[in-house]
């Protein structure tokens, strides 16, 4: 039976390629769109609830949040390190204070100066966290290590421009490599905040101990709110310079972004629905045309004495094979696209996990599969009701 189904298919190559192509395209787009939109919005939410407060220079709220949590965008600017010191002393209201600065890059990967605490929840694949009492030590993200062939003990030179020119003389030693986390942490070099100040000293900025942002964990939401009101809009002076601070609630800032992401998701759903409907139409039309072409063949088989049951089975197996191979292809194609998109979206702070398959993706694929065999099933059912040979 299977052999005959396959042989019979070989005869109708063009129609089969058309059906397969329409299934691959529609299922592939559906699955891909869904997967990407889900991963992006999941990626954005996962970190947002982590800190109660982010303090930084005044400016765009979203930019501050995205830069600090996902290392995207440019930092807004700098604020004096003295703010960190002040907050650290506020042990009554504050659990932890983590400085954050982003400057330079290593072969295009961002370099973040911070304290080891920033990475305390991250798992290390190798080595250890850098020592806050030392400088010029780095923990690198999984992709940074992978794509630059970095090992523990290697020394890397950061630079101002992504072209790799204008490198700093002082090398930073790799002491740890993070496990793959499928987040923006995979694409960043982490070092002590002091390291950033140190590599820049030859540029005559000694004494300018600045940070781009401060991540604060308050002891309770009440204190968080207090601190928010206290620091938002606060003006500090340092070395005769004045800085206006802003304080934001990360969740609040990310919500704006998420709203956009939700819209995207909605559009994706509508898109999927449209594609699916088109898919049904295309597949039905091609199937019916196929069947029309096959009707001569079917009547010949009937004349020889082959039952409608066997003929139906033959066609359902054929379409089943086409549908199944097509959805597998569609899945493969969608993963391939994910791989290619990864470069692009990782710059937005989200690293797509190729291994992540959402249940709804399976539903989409199975749905398309069913849609692809439905016209044949209905058609053969109608045919078998007609008992006579004509």
């Amino acid at each position: 039976m299977l052999r005959f189904a396959l042989k019979n298919m070989a005869v109708k190559k063009i129609q089969i390629i058309l059906v397969a192509l329409s299934i691959v395209i529609s299922a592939g787009i559906g699955v891909l769109a869904f997967n990407v939109s889900s991963q992006v919005s999941d990626g954005i939410t996962s970190n947002a609830g982590y800190y109660s407060l982010i303090i930084g220079p005044s400016g765009s709220k979203t930019q501050l949040a995205m830069n600090t949590m996902y290392f995207t965008d440019e930092p807004l600017g700098t604020i004096p390190y003295s703010v960190v010191s002040t907050l650290s002393k506020d042990g009554m209201r504050v659990n932890s204070v983590i400085p954050f600065a982003m400057a330079d890059n290593y072969n295009g990967y961002g370099v973040v100066g911070t304290s080891p605490e920033f990475l305390k929840d991250k798992e290390l694949r190798e080595g250890s966290l850098f020592d806050s009492s030392k400088t010029l030590e780095a923990v690198v993200g999984y992709n940074v290590a992978k794509y630059n062939g970095l090992k523990i003990g290697d020394v890397l030179h950061t630079s101002h421009s992504s072209t790799g020119l204008d490198t700093h003389e002082q090398g930073i030693k790799v002491v740890g490599i993070l496990k793959e986390s499928h987040s923006s942490f995979d694409n960043v070099v982490f070092t002590q905040i002091q390291t950033l100040w140190q590599v820049h000293t030859h540029e005559g900025e000694e004494g300018h101990k600045t940070v781009c942002a401060i991540l604060v964990n308050a002891k309770n939401p009440g204190y968080a709110l207090q601190l928010l009101n206290e620091y938002d809009g606060k003006i500090v002076t340092h070395d005769d310079e004045t800085f206006t601070l802003q304080a934001i609630e990360p969740m609040d800032a990310v919500r704006d972004v998420l709203n956009d992401a939700d819209d995207t998701k909605y559009i994706v759903f509508v898109l999927c629905a449209v594609i699916l409907v088109m898919n049904i139409m295309i597949i039905s039309i091609i199937t019916l045309l196929n069947m029309y072409h096959s009707s001569k063949e079917i009547s010949l088989m009937r004349l020889i004495g082959i039952s409608m049951k066997k003929i139906n089975l033959l066609y359902i197996i054929q379409n089943g094979i086409i549908g199944f191979v097509s959805i597998l292809l569609a899945f493969g194609v969608s993963r391939l696209c994910l791989l290619m998109m990864n470069d692009y979206v990782s710059s937005m702070g989200v690293v797509l996990n190729l291994g992540l398959v959402y249940p709804l993706e399976i539903v989409i694929l199975v749905g398309v599969f069913i849609i692809s065999i439905l016209p044949t099933a209905i058609w053969t059912l109608v045919m078998s009701k007609r008992d006579s040979i004509s």
Binding site: K7, V11, E297, L300, M301, G305, I306, S307, I389
Partner: protein, 222 residues
């Protein structure tokens, strides 16, 4: 034994054929003669259960085929009847062997196919598609497909129509041999072949009312 009783067939276009009663006995071979359009193929189709008579009945070994369902008639045809269609009814896109092996779908053993094709002189074409064969080659494929199941009844509609006399004679001998102790009904125009058959039936005498087919004017001699 096949009994044709009071069979008439009326087509939508008003053409009506009335057959006289006739019995084809098991173990005998019959040659049907008759002019074009006199209803030979129609009779074979009725016996094979492909079309139903408008009235009357066909009894095979005492069983009235008209009382059976189409499904049962199909099953009987594929298992017991070897029908060589006038226009072969082969699937053009499939190979010679596949056209025969398709009977496997209904559980028919086709192991004999290569031997039959060999005997009919088309063994080397067994993997060619039907559409690449000549008329005579197609005819022999149709014969192989009919005989492969060792049928109880062989219906052959002009099995030599596309063959030269020598091969035609060989084919008829083969058909007669294959249907020893069985029933063979072969339509052919070639009177030279009549010597191989137990009985020759002139369809002229089989048609009860010629006017219905050829109109009041009489027309072609049947």
């Amino acid at each position: 034994m096949i009994e044709v009783k009071n069979v008439t067939k009326q087509f939508q276009n008003e053409t009506e054929i009335k057959y006289k009663d006739i019995t084809f006995e098991t173990g005998k071979s019959y040659m049907l003669l008759g002019a074009s359009g006199c209803g030979k193929s129609t009779l074979l189709n009725i016996i094979a259960g492909i079309i139903s008579p408008t009235s009357g009945s066909v009894l095979i070994d005492g069983v009235n085929m008209q009382e059976k369902s189409q499904k049962q008639r199909d099953k009987f045809r594929i298992e017991k009847i070897g029908y060589i269609f006038q226009d072969f009814k082969l699937i053009n896109e499939m190979t010679v062997l596949d056209n025969i092996n398709i009977l496997n779908l209904e559980g028919i053993n086709t192991q004999d196919a290569p031997r039959l094709l060999e005997e009919l002189g088309i063994a080397e074409k067994k993997n060619s598609k039907i559409k690449h064969l000549s008329g005579g080659q197609k005819q022999r494929v149709a014969i192989a497909r009919a005989l492969v199941k060792a049928p109880d009844i062989v219906l052959a509609d002009e099995p030599t129509g596309n063959l030269n006399f020598a091969i035609g004679e060989l084919v008829i001998k083969k058909l007669v041999k294959a249907s020893k102790n069985k029933t063979l009904i072969a339509v052919t125009h070639d009177e030279r072949l009549s010597k191989y058959f137990d009985k020759v039936i002139d369809m002229n005498q089989m048609i009860a009312d010629k006017k219905d087919i050829f109109g009041a004017g009489g027309g072609t001699k049947c």
